[in-house]
Symmetry: C2
Subunit: 427 residues, 2 copies
């Protein structure tokens, strides 16, 4: 497999919502309710909504910045790479990284849509939630047909309403919904209750995949009040093992045999250990706990129903056959700090080079599994030969991917020294 | 490597304390304070101490029972296999399992000694704590020289007092101390504070290894109030990843270059993934978090200072060379429900057979690393050729290792049908 011949579909990137996103779609009577961007005296931009101030956290949008400038301080749109919030610039950044397709998680509403749920008027909350989804599907994804996998934000406050929204957006071609890895910390019933059955039914009926992203329960792993932030950063992905254990021992997969769940940004290197532990615990304890997977082992059910996702995971790639090459997908995580940008093809290729995976197996991992499990069909829009790393990068000539400090960027743009936003339009 | 030629040292087993353990050692003035066993009307035995009732949880002592009888219900001494609490029977059970040496964690005081800390009179608390340690070292371990690795329970309420106890027991040949994987949930300062420096200094000075056992912070992983217990069982070992991340990003290893920590019952299959994540996070974020490992990577420091322990871990054994065969030790976990008893040699051997590990590497894992890191020298007491699985099992002729229900056991013993406690005395 040559780098230029790879095809890459990322099932986990992120949008920083542009300031004007609510204005065009929202009915006049709700326009005053919409989140709006305010530029603060300290130079940062924040969203205001329902009395809540939501900063853009720096780590959420550091693509293109030197590592010294990573941080958790709030930031301003001026400091962001335009690809964070401008869809044309995003396509350029995808092309520069050789990435064909991308699924984009929300930032402003939270991974699980908890922002809209704060509104006491649930009719208004649903209008805002639907406006978000319409903007995302029609404007953001619609701006570049065949380049995005649409993802719906869930009206998390009501399972029936959420089920209805899943059915509504499916009619528009959106077959993925984000859902909290654990709803209980958000004050909602857990995966073990039957509360969410209408949601799983709607997903089953429409062929919608449920994306559970790390951190989507809004519960960070804090080991101690004085633990350095490095501890949280290290632990965050692996924490999704709790969701994995919940899922497999919940009634969800048993009751909904067609439901598929993706563990977004969960990594894969820990999966073989986890599956062995899962089966060992089952064999050892099922006689008294009553756990029952029928004629299968829990690891088998897990690998039939869960889609795994990784950004960079040399250990996991070496174990890919033990995990199952049909279940693994790749992520770029643009523009977050763990993002594999703008050299994802080189980094993915280097990890594959340490294994004896065949081209066919690599293709499954880098794009075919994503196409299948996320019902994504780019080749109907764009001929396959135009979808490779080499072809996409050829379209990105002129895209500036140099790392630069945002101070420099702001000054350079203002002074016209580097015209960073003058990017080649995409096909 | 033949099964009979293996030598097995387990760095993680458990004592169910016998009812009379405090009586012989405790000064008369404290005798009324000592924990005492009470047989309850419901047929269970419980310890009473300082107004607290402490049941023996069934999962803590299920060796020899059919899986259907595993459970979390309180139990009675009559229902336990005598090897749980009787040191001569324990040696027989070790022999039957081909196990040369064993480190035994406490049950009654908790893994981190929190029971004694509940006593308002800290002088009395220390006397009880020291009585426990003296009983453990002199009576339990002393009953079979060369067969046990003594382990001290920490007076956890005071770092200086704890440091003093580490120095006191080291003079008696005890070079291991149990310590919570995370002290903060116990209301004590975290690993990130300098509070415990006298403890780490005492360990460094005496060559004492710190054993952090899963669950020792007394904080179980409960994902949701209605999650089945299977979820907790699956997650419990891997949860120690939080301790691993805390440790490596705490000041402890930097300030105390001679300190070694064992992650007891933590397993090993997740370690390669964790180390890759550790280094990735460090490379990505050190510029702004200020994390600094000098000329080394955090994974290197981790593998220099942490001893890893597993019961059964086929994935981890396959990755043993990636982890480092000098850092891995084995555990039996007798008499807990995950225990590798009485067929540990067969199970360990089967896992090794799936790898190309050499006999020298297997010997490191099954006993040499434990001897080195826990300062355990059985061969000064017992010739090496009498320490093998084959030799020890030859001494266990007559030891009944048949699985049987405790109801049957009790009846069989009472009726004299099977004289289970008539075991061959050890050398």
């Amino acid at each position: 497999m040559q780098i230029d011949d790879m095809i890459i579909v990322s099932v986990d990137d992120h949008i920083v919502e542009p300031p004007d996103m609510f204005q065009r779609h929202l009915p006049a009577k709700y326009r005053d309710l919409a989140p709006r961007v305010v530029h603060k005296d300290n130079g940062t931009d924040v969203w205001l909504f329902n009395g809540i101030e939501i900063p853009n956290v720096g780590l959420n949008a550091v693509a293109g910045r030197p590592k010294e400038e990573y941080g958790i301080e709030p930031t301003s749109f001026d400091e962001l790479r335009p690809g964070c919030y401008d869809v044309d610039a995003r396509i350029d950044d995808m092309n520069a990284n050789g990435v064909l397709g991308s699924l984009n998680f929300p930032s402003l509403p939270g991974f699980a849509g908890r922002l809209f749920a704060t509104l006491p008027d649930k009719d208004a909350a649903l209008v805002l939630n639907q406006t978000y989804n319409d903007w995302h599907i029609d404007e953001w994804c619609g701006a570049a047909p065949g380049r995005f996998i649409p993802l719906a934000v869930p009206p998390i406050w009501d399972a029936e309403v959420l089920a209805g929204e899943i059915r509504r957006v499916a009619k528009k071609g959106c077959y993925a919904v984000t859902f909290p890895e654990n709803p209980e910390p958000l004050g909602r019933p857990s995966l073990h209750s039957d509360h969410w059955d209408p949601v799983w039914q709607a997903c089953s009926d429409t062929g919608t995949i449920v994306c559970m992203h790390i951190g989507s329960s809004s519960k960070l792993v804090m080991t101690a009040h004085d633990a350095p932030i490095d501890v949280m950063i290290v632990l965050q992905p692996m924490n999704i093992v709790q969701c994995a254990a919940d899922l497999i021992h919940s009634p969800v997969f048993k009751k909904f045999p067609d439901l598929t769940v993706a563990l977004s940004e969960g990594g894969i290197g820990w999966i073989p250990y986890f599956l062995e532990r899962l089966d060992h615990s089952y064999r050892t304890h099922k006689a008294w706990t009553g756990s029952d997977f029928g004629s299968k082992m829990p690891s088998e059910v897990f690998l039939e129903r869960v889609v795994l996702c990784y950004i960079s995971d040399g250990v996991g790639v070496k174990l890919a056959r033990d995990i199952g090459v049909d279940r693994i997908t790749v992520e770029i995580d643009y523009p977050h700090s763990d993002a594999n940008w703008p050299t994802a093809p080189e980094k993915l290729h280097a990890e594959f080079a340490e294994t004896d995976l065949t081209d066919a197996e690599i293709n499954k991992i880098t794009y075919e599994n994503a196409m299948k499990h996320f019902r994504y069909d780019p080749f109907s829009v764009r001929p396959r030969e135009q979808c490779t790393v080499g072809a996409l990068r050829a379209e990105a000539v002129g895209v500036d991917v140099e790392e630069r400090s945002t101070t420099t960027r702001a000054r350079a743009e203002r002074d016209g020294i580097v015209k960073i936003t003058d990017l080649t339009p995409t096909a």
